[in-house]
């Protein structure tokens, strides 16, 4: 029972483990939203995309027996939602924030509708890689079982940062996001670039959703997502549209979300529900501290509706 000997040290350990575990959906959704927002559009529907991804990932994993196929299916479902958002928004006079809210309702509804038969059965989950093999302590080993998707996310964040800065695609994307007029003058098809950006954003959000149903908590239920999609959208603003900062912010949020259960495990149950809201309070607090009414945020894409 060496696990119990940790006592109070179990709290920071659990927070660390939680940070890695809980942050993965945050990470994927915020990276996806980062791509979308760089192109000058905001997709609030990622909450719906996330739930839809969780459902389709779980369903395909259950039916095919392969969790990676499930991840792919989740991504494709997310991409379809992204394309839908992009198509509707490319019509004149359509508000992208309102469409996002509509797609959020629609995505959640559709996922619940189609997901009913998959609440009971157990689908194969994604594998975890044990990084804690060196330790004798069960708690440490448990904390360091890192999921493969998290590692993909860790690689993806610096790659996106590099791609935004150093590739032709990244430059086109940023041009479209910063000034649609300039992009038009250069001869780029703005709507096509935005469609591509929103679709890839949706794909990543769908993959983030599949993490929820295939790794942690690891099953499909209707209460699976509690606003991760929306928090991730706020997180992109906090991370200043920088993929690497998105990664650190996701870790911070994962840690905040894990604080409540971690404290509960050492016997502090007072204010359990309030600790559950810690990520949201933290987001709000950070947004209050970092926003200003007098200037737009540094690094904000010029075409973005939220900062105008």
């Amino acid at each position: 029972m060496s696990g119990d000997l940790l006592g109070w040290w179990g709290v920071p350990l659990a927070v660390l483990a939680g940070a890695i575990r809980v942050s993965t959906p945050f990470l994927f959704v915020s990276l996806g939203e980062c791509i979308t927002e760089k192109s000058g559009r905001i997709n609030l529907g990622l909450e719906g995309t996330l739930v839809m991804g969780a459902m389709s990932g779980y369903a395909v994993s259950y039916l095919s027996g392969s969790p990676w196929l499930g991840v792919l299916a989740a991504g494709c479902a997310g991409a379809v939602f992204g394309i839908l958002h992009a198509l509707i928004c490319s019509l004149p006079r359509v508000n992208d924030i309102a469409v996002g809210i509509a797609l959020m309702l629609f995505g959640i509804g559709l996922a619940f509708f189609l997901g009913k038969p998959f609440i009971q059965p157990q689908a194969p989950n994604l594998p975890s890689i044990p990084f804690g093999w060196w330790s004798e302590n069960a708690q440490v080993r448990d904390a360091l079982r890192v999921n493969a998707l998290f590692i993909i996310g860790v690689i993806l964040a610096p790659f996106l940062l590099w791609a935004f800065r150093n590739t032709r695609w990244g430059l086109i994307l940023r041009t479209v996001g910063d000034s649609a007029d300039a992009a038009l003058a250069l001869g780029y098809a703005i709507n096509r670039v935005r469609m591509f950006a929103t679709a890839s954003g949706g794909f990543l959000a769908g993959v983030g959703g599949s993490f929820l149903s295939l790794s942690y908590p690891g099953s499909w239920s209707e209460g699976l997502s509690s606003g991760q999609g929306i928090t991730a959208v706020a997180l992109v603003i906090f991370a200043r549209w920088n993929p690497m900062l998105c990664f650190w912010a996701s870790l911070l949020f994962g840690g905040a979300a894990a604080l409540g259960p971690a404290l509960q495990s050492v016997g502090i149950t007072q204010g359990y529900y309030l600790f559950n809201a810690a990520p949201y309070m933290l987001t709000l607090l950070i947004m209050i501290l970092t926003c200003s009414r007098d200037r737009t945020l540094a690094g904000a894409p010029g075409e973005l509706g939220v900062t105008r």
Binding site: G48, L103, F106, I108, G227, I230
Partner: protein, 270 residues
């Protein structure tokens, strides 16, 4: 401004209403009902005005902050219902104590409809008068149409935003009070079923005209109520209603394109 935090104001309004009813066990029913309505409206107003204030003073995007506030409101609600305000008798489903049968809103004589409907219609008419028939409403519409123009002509944009948010929150809070006082009789998790989100859909469907809200809200209430019927008769899951609502919402937003293209669809001057 697009604020999607009505759910939080509704939840807190319901909680405030049941909390205030707890503190006055022996007062006359009418007094209790008025106190409940006022408490719910203050709680809701403060909650949404917070989002408006953050927007005004700190430039925090109100759509996102209000949505975050929903989750915080639900956490506060759960914390209080599980702890301080919990009725010891409610074992499986934590609730606040019953507000008492005498304090419930009754039904309109001759029908099954509770008085909440009257509250709603009065609120719609008041909102219409406020928005289209007063100087304040005019200022609000100018600020909503173009903030720079509003500042230029010297309108107090900050105050307008705060008051508008406060009123919006107050009506959402009142909805929470009606739910508690007419349907549940106490505040518990059944309050959190997404009326706040359906309300956004209603507002968009009604094209932001308070008078149009009355038929649209009744229509959507009907769709919501049909969920049970769909489940029993056709064996469809209850999420059907959500899918339908999402589809309606998307269709309405997309139809924005048709303005000016069809002869009978003309944009009304704001």
């Amino acid at each position: 401004m697009v604020v999607i935090g009505g759910e939080g104001a509704l939840v807190l309004g319901g909680l405030a209403a049941s909390a205030i009813a707890m503190t006055m066990p022996s007062a006359a029913p009418l007094v209790v009902q008025i106190a409940m309505a006022v408490a719910a409206m203050i709680a809701g107003a403060a909650w949404i005005a917070l989002a408006g204030g953050l927007r005004h003073w700190r430039g925090v995007n109100e759509t996102i902050s209000s949505l975050l506030l929903v989750y915080i409101a639900i956490a506060v609600f759960n914390h209080l219902v599980e702890g301080l305000l919990r009725d010891p008798a409610s074992l499986n489903k934590p609730s606040t104590p019953n507000i008492g049968d005498a304090n419930m809103l009754g039904t309109i004589p001759g029908t099954d409809i509770h008085w909440g409907l009257a509250y709603g219609i009065i609120a719609c008419v008041l909102a219409y008068i406020l928005i289209y028939r007063t100087t304040f409403g005019f200022g609000m519409r100018v600020a909503g149409g173009n903030v720079k123009a509003a500042r230029m002509v010297g309108l107090p944009v900050g105050r307008l935003v705060l008051v508008a948010c406060g009123l919006a929150g107050a009506s959402a809070g009142l909805a929470g009070m009606v739910e508690v006082a007419a349907v549940h009789g106490k505040a518990n998790a059944s309050l959190i079923v997404g009326y706040g989100y359906t309300g956004i859909l209603v507002a968009f469907l009604a094209r932001h005209n308070p008078l149009a809200i009355i038929p649209v809200a009744i229509q959507l209430g009907g769709i919501g109520a049909s969920g049970g019927l769909l489940q029993r008769r056709l064996g469809l899951p209850d999420a059907t209603v959500l899918v339908l609502q999402g589809l309606i919402f998307i269709a309405i937003l997309t139809s924005e394109v048709l303005y000016g293209r069809l002869p009978w669809l003309k944009r009304r001057p704001a």
